[in-house]
Each structure stands twice: as C-alpha cells, then as structure tokens.
C-alpha cells in the first residue's frame, strides 16, 4: 500500500528531516509510526500525502507514485491531520458534503455516503448542528468521517487521539479497529501514546532522526527486550557513577538513561534488586527510589529512539516561560504545547506558514553547527552499513524491481 525507496527530504538549510527512509506498509494492516518529536514523522506523512515533495528517493502510495501521479494518490487516500481542519461554522453534514464535492463525487453518491458515515460514527443526531457546538471527541469523529467520504483504501491518522478524554479515546480506538477489520481500510497511524500503538497496530516502525530504526509486530518488539527493567532514581552526579559501575557488570543487559531515572535491564528483576542495592551502596550511591517493571513498548521505544517522550518537558520545565523563546527565536513557539519541541517535524508546509523562512534557517544553522561532529561519525557508520547491504536492498532500483512495482500499481489501482 505504501512503499518508499531511499526517501530523503533535505531542507534548504541542509537539515535532513527524512534520511533514506525505506518502509513498506502492507495492504490491510494498521501500521504504527512512532518516533520522538522532530524525528521526521510529519515530514514523511506530508510527502506521502503529496503535501510536500521529497528531495530524492521515491514513494508509492496506493500503487501510485507521489511525484508523478499526485492526483491519483490524493484520490486513493484519506488524511486526518493533527489540526482538525473541519469548518466550525458549517454543520457536520455540510462539512461532509463539501468534502465529497472536493473529491468531485456526484450529488447522489455524496448523499448516500454522508448518511452512511453519519450512521457509522453515530453523529446522525447532531448532523445538522454547527460543528462549533460539537465536543472534541465528536469533532475528531467527524474529521475521520470526512477523510473517508470517497471510500479510500488507505487513511493517514496523525495523532488522532491527541487531547481526547479517556472515554473518547477508547471509543475512537474501536472505530479505528472497525475501519480496519470490517471495511478493510489500511491505516497509517502516528501517535505519542505507546499504549495506543501497542493496542492498535499490527506492525510498528520506530523512526529516529529521519530513518527507521526497527519495524516489527508489537509482541516481537517487546520480546526482543527480554527480562525486566529496574528503574532507579538517583541524585545528581550519582547517575554517571552508577552507570559506569553497572556497565561493567555481566548481569546487566542494558542501561538507559531517562531524565533522572536509570533503567537497568536484567533477567530477573526481584533477584536483581538485592545485588543492585548492595553494589550501589558499597560504592556510596544513594538510591532515592526503585521500581521493577515488565518490558513494555516504552522500553522498546527508549531503546531505539534513545530518548524519552518526557525528556523535552522536564528539561524545560524548570525554566521561566520566556526561556524557550530566547532559545528558539521569537516566532518559534507560537503554537505552544507539545509541538514546540519540534524542530524538523513542523517543517514543510506547516512551517512555511508559521515561521518566516529566515527564522527557520537560523534555527537550523545553529543546529547544524552543533551536530556537525556527530554527523561525521554518522556518515562513517552509514558507509559501513552500505557495505553490508541485504539482498533485497540490491534488488531495489533494478529494472526488475521497477517492473514489479508497476504491476503492483496496476493491481491496486
């Protein structure tokens, strides 16, 4: 359904938002697309939905090339963005009808489909009220309904449950499952709620710095982290000391740092507590608190993205509100909230609107100089990776591959 080949998006400033991305979303699956803010999720979605053009590489959506057949791609997908985008001063029904018109459906087909969707999402009773009177959950449902008006076989859901109460969230999950299982809609889902990704997705891909770190089923991902994690809370410099001590221990499988917490992965959690405490006490390290947990998707996520979702929040939490502005330039955090951490994420369409271009470039320049050394190392690593290519990678880009894809396209189209 979706296939990308070395997809890359470099901004004029030189920042790579998407870096040689290769993903393959199967027909009929729910694909969870995870990654920290700024990993390039939104940029990827914008390329796949034809809102933005890649710098290099190719992408096929629903069997159509996003660069050469954008209109065909648009007709075969539905897109539910983070901002709802529905008109608040139209009624629910009017929003749906208009959307049908924009997809150039004829009047009768639109009316039939609108009734169907109103029924499906149980917004029939409010269909003729202005959207401004709707609750957040209802707006979301209407938003998803508008994306389904033309019967697409693939929809993109960009953080669909952001800001919803727990009840609306679980309700929406049921709709998403129903769309997938009964209507056979392929779903490309991004979310910051790992439990959501875990519950809904057939497969999960974790994106970090513009490229995919791993793709697998949630269960296999969790299995890949065997054993338990022991969560230690340590004070200040004790963290580094503890890490250097534990690193050398053969019983410790992995150590991850998450804000003030040190996560230690071991085979048996309850057993490990005893020797861990002993070892740390011997070295004069005070442990403020300690907990054990079974592996969850959080652990997988931390392992592959090397960052916690909460990292940004707590790093900036102690600062006065204007500190963010001073760091990022005046126009940067106009949106506030969660998106304010995004560097690369909002780039493209969104960012062009919301920031002047010169601001954008300034931000990126700072980032580039700081990351230059790291990038050199990364380049070396990339070169090493290229040498050990997997066989299917070699197959890509050959004439046979092109032919195969065009056949796929015909089948799906």
């Amino acid at each position: 359904m979706i296939k990308t080949e070395n997809l890359t998006k470099t901004f004029s400033s030189g920042t790579k938002a998407v870096d040689n991305l290769n993903i393959n979303v199967e027909d009929g699956e729910i694909f969870g697309f995870l990654g920290p803010n700024g990993a390039g999720k939104s940029t990827t979605i914008k390329i796949l939905t034809t809102l933005s053009r890649p710098t290099s590489g190719q992408a096929w959506v629903g069997g159509h090339n996003v660069l050469t057949e954008p209109v065909k791609v648009r007709c075969s997908i539905g897109y539910v963005a983070q901002e709802t985008g529905i008109d608040y001063f139209l009624t629910g029904r009017e929003n749906l009808v208009l959307q049908g018109r924009l997809y150039r459906m004829d009047g009768k087909a639109i009316n039939r489909r609108v009734d169907e969707l109103l029924e499906l999402f149980s917004i029939k009773d409010n269909a003729d009220q202005l959207v401004s009177t709707y609750s957040g959950g209802m707006r979301r449902k209407l938003d998803i309904a508008t994306a389904l008006i033309h019967n697409p076989r693939l929809i993109f859901l960009d953080e669909p449950t952001l800001g919803l109460d727990p009840h609306s969230r679980s309700q929406l999950w049921n709709y998403i499952r129903m769309l997938n299982s009964e209507l056979k809609v392929t779903i490309f889902l991004t979310t910051h709620y790992l439990d959501e990704a875990d519950k809904l997705s057939n497969r999960i891909g974790i994106l970090h710095k513009g490229s995919i770190k791993i793709i697998d089923t949630p269960d296999k991902l969790k299995d890949s982290i065997r054993g338990d994690s022991v969560n230690l809370e340590l004070k200040g410099s004790a963290k580094d000391k503890a890490i250097s001590i534990l690193k050398g221990d053969s019983k410790v499988k992995e150590i991850l740092l998450e804000n003030d917490h040190v996560r230690v992965y071991v085979n048996n959690g309850s057993e490990a507590i005893q020797w861990l405490m002993k070892l740390l006490n011997q070295n004069g390290i005070d442990v403020s608190s300690l907990s054990i947990s079974r592996p969850s998707l959080d652990d997988v996520y931390l392992k592959y993205s090397g960052a916690s979702f909460k990292e940004g929040d707590s790093a900036e939490g102690g600062e006065p509100w204007w500190a963010k502005w001073q760091k990022g330039g005046w126009g940067k955090n106009w949106k506030g909230g969660e998106d304010s951490n995004d560097k690369n994420e909002a780039v493209g369409w969104d960012q062009n609107w919301t920031k002047g271009e010169w601001e954008m470039e300034q931000d990126d320049k700072q980032e580039v100089t700081a990351d230059k050394d790291k990038e050199d190392i990364k380049d070396k690593e990339n070169k090493e990776e290229e040498n050990t290519e997997e066989p299917w990678k070699k197959w890509q880009g050959t004439p046979e591959a092109a032919e195969w894809w065009s056949k796929q396209g015909k089948k799906e189209g």
């Binding site: 007709c75 709802t84 208009l98 369409w349 609107w353």
Partner: protein, 255 residues
C-alpha cells in the same frame, strides 16, 4: 476548466454561507455606511460651495468615495482569513483532495468581492434615501461591476500579501497603511482640480481613481464612453494581474 469552475463554486458557497451565518456582520454592514454618510456628509458639506468644486452637492460627489472606501476596508481582510484557515488546518485538508489549487484562491477572492457588493448596494440605497441623485438603474448596475472588478483586484493583493508575510499582524498593518494613501491619491475625497500636479500624475496609475471616475460618470452621465471603456479595461487588467499573482504565491507555498 469545468472542474475549476465547479470547485470554485462549491468553495465559494461555503464561504458565503459562513458569512451569512454571522448576524453581526449583517448588522455592521448596515450601520457602517450610515455613519459614514452622516459624518462625512455633514463635515464636508460646505466644501461643495468652494470655487472650483464640481457642480452638485457634496453627497453626490462623496457617494463614489464611500463605495470605494467600502471596497478597501472590505477586501483588506481577505488575506487574514486565509492565514486563519491555514493555521486551522482547513487549507491542508483541502490540499490533500484533488481540488484545483487555483479554485482555492479564486473562491476566496470572489467571495470577498460579492460581500463587498452587498455592502455597496446597501450604501447606495441609504445614500439615495439621504438624497443623493442617481441617474438611473443602469448606472447603478454598471458601477457595481466596477466595484466587483476593483474588489477582485484588492482581495487578490490581500491574499498574495498574506502568502508573502505569513503572519496576520503585519498584514493588517500593511492593509491599513495602504488604504488611506490610496484613497487620497485618487479623486475619491477631493476633486482633481484641488490636487497638486504630482498627485494628479499618480492618480493615472491608481486603480482606485479609475473606479471612482467610472462610478461618478455612471451617476452623473457626464463622462465619455471612451473614458468608461478605458476604466473597465484598466480595472479588468488590474484584477487579473492581482489574482494571478495571489495564485502564484499560493501555489509556491503549498508545494
């Protein structure tokens, strides 16, 4: 082409519906010309008796000016609402559909022009009640076409500037900054015979002046057919150029 027209039509319908659902909009639309005609009409009443002032009462002279003022104030908001729709995600939602990109700009510009026409109609009716003399229904209709062309042009500029500035505040600033100088660099408020030479030169490239002159001619019937044709031509060219520029700016940004 057929699709461009139908896309534009459906989007235009949406905007018009939203506008008509604001009762306060309708109320202020009626109040605004009342205030203008009352205050300006009284303030400048005696100007009409100055030597060199064209024949007739100031109300007759001022009515085209009030119409043009409505055009300028009414169109400068067009770009602001475009930015609002962009920030709201509405534009992005449109862009993922196969809808014609040109129609997104066209529908907005036409919607603005139509709302301005509604306002101008109300002004004319009120002015007639206040005693302005209108030469006939034909003149009134022709002057509404002039209003339409001028509004298309200025709301095109507003949308184009919105795409360039990307923020609402500077856009509103620029709109306010342009409005009054453009007014006074035309014969909307003051007859040409009162102007210094250099301003009279500038009026020759000011689309507002063409509109004012044409509208005035329709009311009094005193200007040659040729002058009216030149006015129509100049204003059509202005509208087409402005809309093309706005569309170009929009397409560049939405890539």
């Amino acid at each position: 082409m057929v699709q461009l027209v139908s896309d534009t039509w459906y989007l235009f319908n949406k905007y018009l519906r939203i506008t008509l659902r604001m009762p306060m909009w309708a109320l202020f639309t009626i109040i605004q010309p009342l205030i203008w005609l009352l205050i300006f009409g009284q303030l400048f009443k005696n100007m009409a008796s100055l030597p060199g002032f064209p024949q007739g009462r100031y109300m007759d002279f001022f009515l085209p000016g009030a119409v043009i003022m409505t055009v300028l104030f009414g169109t400068s908001w067009s770009g602001v609402s475009l930015l609002r729709e962009i920030n709201f995600g509405t534009v992005e939602k449109m862009l993922v559909t196969p809808v014609s990109r040109v129609s997104i700009v066209m529908s907005r510009v036409i919607h603005t022009a139509v709302t301005v026409i509604i306002q101008c109609l109300i002004i004319m009716i009120i002015a007639i009640i206040f005693g302005a003399s209108v030469s006939g229904i034909k003149g009134a209709l022709l002057s509404l076409i002039i209003v339409f062309l001028l509004s298309l042009g200025f709301s095109g500029i507003s949308n184009g500037l919105a795409m360039w500035l990307k923020r609402e505040e500077p856009l509103v600033m620029l709109g306010n900054m342009m409005t009054l100088p453009l007014m006074f660099l035309s014969s909307a408020m003051v007859p040409k015979s009162f102007m210094p030479e250099w301003i009279r030169v500038i009026t020759k490239i000011n689309p507002i002046d063409y509109a004012v002159e044409a509208i005035r001619a329709f009311y009094s019937g005193g200007v040659s057919l040729q002058a009216i044709l030149v006015g129509f031509l100049f204003l059509s060219l202005f509208a087409v150029t402005a809309i093309s520029w706005a569309t170009e700016m929009f397409m560049n940004q939405s890539e």
